[in-house]
Amino acid sequence: MKLAYWPGCVSRGFTPELHGSMAKVAPLLDLELVELDRANCCGAGVIAEHNQELADALNARTFAMAQQVQGAAGMMNICSTCQGAQSECQQRLDASSEYRGEVNTHLQPEGLSYEAGGEWWNKNFLWILAEEIGFDALRERVKRPLEGLRIAPFYGCYIVRPSKRLGLDEHPERDQYLGLLIEALGGEAVEYAGARKCCGFPLITMNRTTSLRQAGRHLADAIDAGADCLVTPCPLCHLNLDMQQPAAQKFVERDLGIPVLHLPQMVGLALGLEPKELGMGKHVVPTDDVQRKVAELAAA
């Protein structure tokens, strides 16, 4: 399947292991990714907070670029926040042809125009796995079932709320996909309170206490539920849950130390890739225990 691919800013910035692992995993799933390397930031909700029309125009530009990729089934992103911020803009652009026309005038100089309607879509890698590839087909590709690995899903707000905008009426299992995926890969999905809560990242510059209390609490809940690691489709969640984890300990007054995997890393492990190829050495919280368990699986 050929896809226009929007990797987002953070996967090429502070979480390079996300971008790298996606590149390794895509061919194993027969995904041909055409990277939109001229596209701009989705605005992460902050540009929409500043000026809605500006956010809509910037994302219309990205959508228009994706629509120009010949033979692409749609557009793929690898960030819950991109998904949410872009879906929000797409909803407005799709709602009014007059408004869309006005926004498109800003794209004219580049020969771009976002065309609404039809079957065009923008889906996170998680949704691609569930809806385009399918968990049954994926199961057949698993080379190393993640048996015995207890994984706590962490979705990221933007990919599950508001449910109507994010297509849960049509795909009611979108807020269950991570658990279903973990099981399809042979792992054990851990239930805990924080799976669909906020990692706190949007507040890290404005209220560090509220932000890190959120991160710390969900990590602690996952540990108490017996998880070996978390997995998330959102690199911003990853920054608060992994990079800030040592700092978050103070705010929940306990030791944490639980690794947080990016979605393609977890898929890659099950497809037989080695932790090193997936950039698992580039985490702040060491992934050694997960790596050791995976190595034991390979030996078994």
């Binding site: 001229r38 029309e53 910037l58 709602a95 009014s96 609404a116 809560k197 906020c198 507040l203």
Partner: protein
């Protein structure tokens, strides 16, 4: 009418006067699936145990009395079909608990006074007129001028958004979604004379508009589509763009930093986001201003950990490439930011369904 079915309710019971801890109690109810969870609770009260405490009145999502959590999700009991609740319940049970983020008075009755109403009063929830009304007349406002606040005015003060708020879950002092939506109702009202003072107050409060974690939980649960988080974003937009309020919470700085970086580079230069946020958007000010330098120092261990893990390289921290067509991106910024008025498509007003779909429906209706 659909046939009556048996549903299993699991209700959280608590009576502080008994001295006993809270517990779960199971009840069976017989109702058609389109009836409400509230109907189920009332049937239990009627047939089995009249001592269950719940507030309710209109049964039609108008009075906002029966806010609870159904299968963990905050909602009005009268506005939730019992059949739908059974579909999302676990092991066949529909769990009903009192709302979150508020103390419990008894069973399903939350202490709205202790949290919700107190926070609403915090935002001065009445009009402070800019001037005396014209002699012998009322204030007359053109209808268009009120469109912007219609959504906030739809609030019925049920507290369901407060119950679901994920910032308040870790920071009980957060003013919260309902009260801040109420604040916007007056900030956006053309007759109010305290717009700037209100915004300054809510921007400077560490538990004000910049303590919202942007999680959409309130948007998701609101039974009246008030989208409280969107109203908080409107407050932020007015505080930063209209009044340039440079608050001590870095709210202004964070927005300014983010927007400046995208205008400059097209994608996010993460290494500059924090220092700029601490300096009202300016990289130099963020490092020189005492509070900025202090906050940056606090982030140093995290930065070192990033460098050590190999996530962040010194090159990446210092250099960030512009997009190949960044000139075009800047032109878009310039064209849109130089409008006199902000163009905001409000789907609450125009409808979420696309105009093409509406047109097609109208056409179809005309044909038949």
């Amino acid at each position: 009418m659909a046939d009556t079915q048996t549903f299993q309710l699991k209700i959280r019971r608590y009576d502080p006067e008994s001295g006993a801890p809270a517990y779960w109690a199971d009840y069976d109810v017989d109702l058609p699936p389109e009836r409400s969870v509230l109907d189920g609770i009332l049937q239990v009260k009627d047939r089995e145990d009249a001592s269950i405490a719940i507030r309710c009145s209109c049964r039609a999502a108008i009075c906002g009395s029966c806010g609870v959590r159904i299968n963990g999700r905050s909602a009005l009991a009268c506005n939730t079909r019992i059949g739908d609740a059974a579909a999302t319940g676990r092991d066949g049970f529909i769990t009903v608990e009192p709302m979150g983020n508020m103390p419990v008075i008894k069973d399903l009755v939350s202490d709205m006074e202790a949290v919700h109403w107190k926070k609403v009063r915090r935002v001065v929830p009445w009009l402070v007129p800019a001037e005396a009304p014209p002699e012998g007349q009322e204030y007359i406002v053109p209808a268009e001028a009120m469109l912007d606040v219609t959504q906030a005015m739809a609030c019925i003060h049920c507290g369901v958004c407060v119950s679901a708020c994920l910032s308040m879950e870790v920071d009980p002092e957060f003013i919260g979604p309902a009260a801040l939506a109420k604040a916007y109702r007056f900030v956006g009202d053309p007759r109010d004379g305290e717009e700037e003072a209100r915004l300054r107050d809510l921007a400077e409060d560490p538990h004000g508009i910049y303590d919202c974690t942007h999680c959409f939980a309130c948007v998701e649960v609101c039974p009246k589509d008030v989208a409280p988080m969107n109203q908080i974003m409107r407050l932020r937009r007015r505080a930063t763009s209209d009044y340039g309020i440079k608050d001590e919470n870095n709210g202004y700085g964070h927005e300014k930093a983010f927007v400046t970086l995208i205008e400059k580079y097209g994608t996010l230069h993460e290494a500059q986001l924090l220092p700029r946020s601490f300096g009202d958007g300016s990289l130099v000010k963020g490092q020189l201003k005492p509070s900025g330098a202090k906050q940056l120092t606090r982030e140093l261990p995290t930065a070192f950990r990033g460098l050590k893990s190999g996530k962040v390289t010194p090159r990446k921290a210092l250099l960030h490439e512009k997009l190949p067509d960044q000139k075009q991106v800047r032109k878009i910024f310039h064209a849109i930011e130089s409008h006199d008025e902000r163009i905001e498509l409000n789907l609450y007003i125009v409808g979420e369904m696309g105009d093409e779909e509406m047109g097609a429906m109208a056409e179809e209706a005309g044909e038949t």
